[in-house]
């Protein structure tokens, strides 16, 4: 039993270790104080960079204006992201069934990952009309390829010996996929999902920049127009918070599922 206890003890210790939470908070505080002092000492103009305190104050003051845009962007990112995850994994699963499709689709997927979707947005606005909710589509086509690419990588790089094990016990194609191919790809699936968080956020905000009218991206430009620099920065920070929160959730889920990788 000793060994088992040792394993669980180690897991618990990792969970409870407060350093992981305190260290980043300390860094954040240092940056905050450093900026506050530095910006004041060198009399940096507000349009270059307002002090953190002013950003927070300004943002709180205008929060009633920002909130609808915040909720809109949050909605676009979350819906797009939630569609992109199964879409990316499913496409990868489909492609991986046939070697020839993998060969054909891999360059296409990489091409889609690399192309900045912002270049397509003006065109898409033409095709899709101007319903702001259609920005979800931008998020989906921005995030799906990166999830698909990583997942596909995991699906096609399975050790031959593991597949032979499946063969030696007569596993069906589905069993082999569920027990071996998919599990083998899981760490890479999560890498794709985490990158997908970043891509979704970029997609949503770039759509705002081009299509205007709604969303945090649009709000940043509006605030700038009236020289509300504090509020613009506040919006940028809110966007970052959305991205970081999604990323953190994905990472938490990964730690719960991918137990065998330390």
């Amino acid at each position: 039993m000793a060994k088992n206890e040792a394993i669980t003890a180690r897991k618990k210790k990792e969970k409870r270790d407060p350093k992981g939470i305190i260290a980043p908070l300390v860094v954040l505080a240092i940056i905050y104080i450093g900026l506050e002092i530095g910006l004041r000492a060198f009399h940096v103009a507000a349009y270059v960079m307002p002090t953190p305190t002013h950003i927070i104050q300004g943002t709180i003051k205008s929060f009633a204006i920002i909130l609808p845009d915040f909720l809109f962007t949050l909605k676009i990112i979350c819906i797009g992201f939630c569609v992109a995850i199964p879409a990316g994994i499913l496409l990868a699963a489909l492609f991986s069934q046939f070697d020839i499709v993998v060969k054909a689709m891999q360059p296409v997927v990489i091409w889609l990952v690399i192309t900045p979707m912002i270049t397509l947005i003006p065109l898409m606005t033409l095709w899709l009309g101007t319903d702001p909710n259609l920005r979800v589509i931008i998020v989906i086509i921005q995030a799906t390829p990166i999830i698909c690419m990583n997942t596909l990588n995991g699906f096609i790089h399975v050790e031959q010996e593991k597949l032979e094990l499946a063969k030696s016990i007569g596993a069906t194609k589905l069993q082999t996929f569920v027990h071996i191919t998919f599990m083998n790809a899981l760490p890479q699936v999560f890498t794709g999902i985490k990158l997908g968080c970043i891509f979704s956020t970029i997609g949503a905000v770039s759509a705002d920049f081009v299509s205007r009218g709604q969303g945090l991206g649009d709000r940043i430009i509006k605030f700038l127009k009236y020289s509300n620099f504090e509020q613009s920065y506040g919006c940028i920070i809110l966007i970052a918070i959305i991205g970081i929160s999604l990323y953190t959730v994905a990472e938490k889920i990964e730690k719960r599922i991918v137990l065998w990788k330390k």
């Binding site: 039993m1 000793a2 060994k3 088992n4 394993i7 010996e161 593991k162 032979e164 094990l165 499946a166 063969k167 030696s168 016990i169 007569g170 596993a171 069993q175 027990h179 071996i180 599990m183 083998n184 899981l186 991918v258 137990l259 065998w260 330390k262």
Partner: protein, 267 residues
């Protein structure tokens, strides 16, 4: 004569790669009775793995037939049916554990695939874990236990669905000398108690003599059978037999067989 448990009838295997075709096994025949413990001995690359991979349906044959209990089992290009696969357990050269499953889940995997459910099978997993001293590591992941334990897990995974035949592809080759000797003794113990038919592949002459009742010696270029040596040594075998004259005599005979192969390669 009693029907052989396993029969290779003039089996040939050619691997077709893009640039060439490799004759891995040429015209190989052997017959193994139920409950026998035989070894296949030969230098690396002589087609030993290819032989038992054909038997276990991992790859197909090019020519010739393989029979288990008189039933032809090599279906060209078709998957071997589960009813036949269930008769065999394959132990790989590397432990070949799936890192994402716990030790217990790994060992129970054949049961899931063969759809063997119920408390009696659960109990069997527990008993096997107990047998090789892995009970307390059942919930550990493969990355958390030692090489020797992993290979033990590999052995009981191959036995979990109670196969009649064990196919072992240089199972203890990656282990250190001491662990290897210990594992060999444990294996003999398991064989004595369960009377399974065992094909044991090795390139270690001493191991072949110590364990088996008969040794099939293979040669390279092309991979083929060069000699069958029956070992008339008493059972149960012990490590102390290694120094007995009869043991040494067999060892030297096998060394001779292998030596001839090397000479023929030089020519």
């Amino acid at each position: 004569m009693q029907e052989p448990k396993i029969k290779f009838d003039h089996v040939t295997k050619v691997f077709q790669t893009r640039s060439q075709s490799i004759l891995a096994v040429k015209d190989y025949s052997m017959e193994i009775a139920a409950g026998e413990f035989v070894s296949i001995l030969g230098p690396s690359g002589c087609g030993k793995s290819t032989l038992i991979r054909m038997l276990d349906g991992i790859i197909d044959t090019t020519e010739g037939d393989i029979f288990i209990d008189g039933q032809k089992v090599n279906y060209a290009k078709k998957k071997m049916p589960q009813s036949i696969l269930r008769k065999m357990g394959f132990i790989f050269q590397q432990p070949n554990m799936l890192p994402w499953f716990t030790v217990r889940e790994n060992i129970a995997l054949p049961l899931r695939v063969f759809d063997l459910k119920g408390p009696e099978w659960e109990k069997r997993v527990d008993e096997l874990l107990e047998l090789v001293g892995l009970t307390e590591y059942a919930k550990a992941y493969p990355a958390e236990i030692s090489g020797g334990m992993l290979q033990r897990a590999g052995v009981i995974r191959a036995m979990v669905h109670d196969p009649e035949i064990l196919l072992m592809d240089e199972p203890f080759g990656a282990l250190d000398e001491l662990t290897r000797e210990q594992m060999n003794m444990e294996l003999l113990d398991i064989w004595t108690r369960t009377k399974k038919t065992i094909i044991f592949i090795t390139h270690n002459i001493e191991e072949a003599v110590l364990l088996s009742s008969r040794v099939y010696v293979m040669g390279t270029h092309p991979g083929r059978l060069v000699e069958i040596v029956d070992l008339d040594l008493p059972r149960p075998r012990t490590l102390s037999m290694i120094t007995q004259p009869k043991f040494i005599q067999y060892r030297e005979k096998l060394e001779g067989c292998i030596g001839e192969i090397d000479l023929s390669k030089i020519k």
